[in-house]
């Protein structure tokens, strides 16, 4: 193939929307009856286009290659003699392709109409909404006292039903488990009095403490940090937290204050 010709072809290839578009072009150019496509010639021409693209190092979209394979497959099926005896019942291997092309042609026609209509519509101007100061009057919401009360009673009842017969025991267990923030603050201060710097995990280890105690312990150091009694250092996310006593701060008075409050 001559390079001049291949260039001419390639320029066109870039304008094709896809393999159907290209096939369509070939069909129209050769004035072929769409229902009786000479697959042999069309396939050859289609392949020529692809080769031309390849020669110019253009990237060939995979869809074009899939179509090439389809065409070659149809071509080979038409060449091979059919094993079936009744040729009447046999489907034409081109049929699926033809149907797709016909459907594509329909939209292609409509696309041309859209182009024209779009141009016509350019002559119409619209405007935005008028800038009117509309006062929105809030409709008063009507609530019913009985309705509100009913909702609340249902909610309370629903919560009660969730508790089983062992509610009493459970409450005891829970109370037993109850951890006060104050007692944890006291734990932290006691430790600091002995050791001005310690690691959070030394005092609140998952091995010795319950989850609730660890969480409360964490709240305790946050609270003390907020009161500027301690400094917290964490090197990176999820690393152990180092708790340091702030200088010039009296831990004793907190302790007393807290204990006094509790008693």
């Amino acid at each position: 193939m001559e390079s001049v010709l291949s260039k001419a072809c390639t320029i066109k290839i870039q304008n094709f929307e896809g393999p159907f578009d290209l096939l369509f072009h070939l069909i129209e150019k050769n004035q072929i009856d769409i229902y009786d496509i000479p697959i042999h010639e069309i396939t050859d021409q289609y392949m020529d286009y692809l080769f031309a693209m390849q020669e110019l190092d253009l990237e060939i979209a995979s869809e074009f290659l899939v179509m090439a394979a389809t065409l070659l497959h149809i071509k080979s099926r038409l060449l091979l003699p059919s094993p079936k005896q009744n040729k009447e019942e046999e489907l034409d291997p081109r049929e699926e392709l033809v149907l797709k092309l016909i459907e594509y042609k329909k939209y292609k026609k409509f696309t041309e109409i859209l182009k024209i209509r779009e141009k016509d519509s350019e002559r119409y101007f619209y405007k935005g909404p008028e800038d009117i100061d509309i006062k929105h009057e809030d409709e008063p919401l009507e609530l019913s006292y009985d309705e509100l009360k009913r909702v609340y009673v249902e909610l309370i009842e629903r919560n009660e039903r969730k508790m089983n017969k062992n509610t009493g025991k459970m409450t005891q267990i829970l109370q037993h488990e109850k951890v006060s923030l104050r007692s944890k603050i006291r734990d932290v201060i006691r430790t600091l009095l002995k050791k001005p710097i310690f690691k959070f995990s030394e005092l609140f280890s998952p091995k010795t403490r319950s989850k609730l105690e660890i969480v409360t312990g964490f709240l305790a150091i946050l609270e003390l940090a907020k009161l500027k009694k301690i400094t917290l250092i964490q090197q990176k996310q999820f690393a152990d937290i180092t708790v340091c006593k702030c200088e010039n701060t009296d831990l004793e008075d907190i302790d007393e204050e807290n204990i006094a409050a509790e008693n």
Binding site: F125, G128, D138, P140, I156, K178
Partner: protein, 198 residues
Amino acid sequence: MDLKKLEGIVEGMLFASGDRISIEKLSNIIGIDKKTIKLVLNNMIVNYNNNPSRGISIREINNGYQLCSKPEYYDYIKQLFEPRQRSGLSQAALETLAIIAYNRPITKTRIEQIRGVNSDSAVARLLEKNLIRESGRLDAPGKPVLYETTDEFFRSFGFKSDSDLPIFELNDVQEPEEVNQNSGQEKQDTEFEKQEKV
């Protein structure tokens, strides 16, 4: 130029612009002297105003002209801009409101404990509807916001004055069972204690 067509051009330009157009600009674009443009516009203003089948009129603004809808038809026009029909409160919002009414002031965390589900959007909706408001912060770690009901809340029951307001007390609500009542009460006390102490 035909005066009728001139009116049409002016109307089309004023419409498309959606804004005020100065006489100069109209005159320049159409290629007709300002005096004629002014005459045409004054004629249009009279015609628009006298014709009930016209829903728009022309206003003279600072030596320019602008189209606007006729104020006579405001009652119809405003309905175009009204937001969709106000919807009532969702079940979630109603539940949350009930909890706040019976437990005010209360934190969102406590509301969520009672409802058993996240109540962010319900609280946001009630705030937006002005049925609840923030009433300060609990003196506890994180200083959580406390919520209480508003005057609007009471008004929405149709009560006119404060003295008409119903009393929301816990005793209003019958507890279903003796046992549960105890544990419920206990539970509440410890919760209350914790809130106060922490």
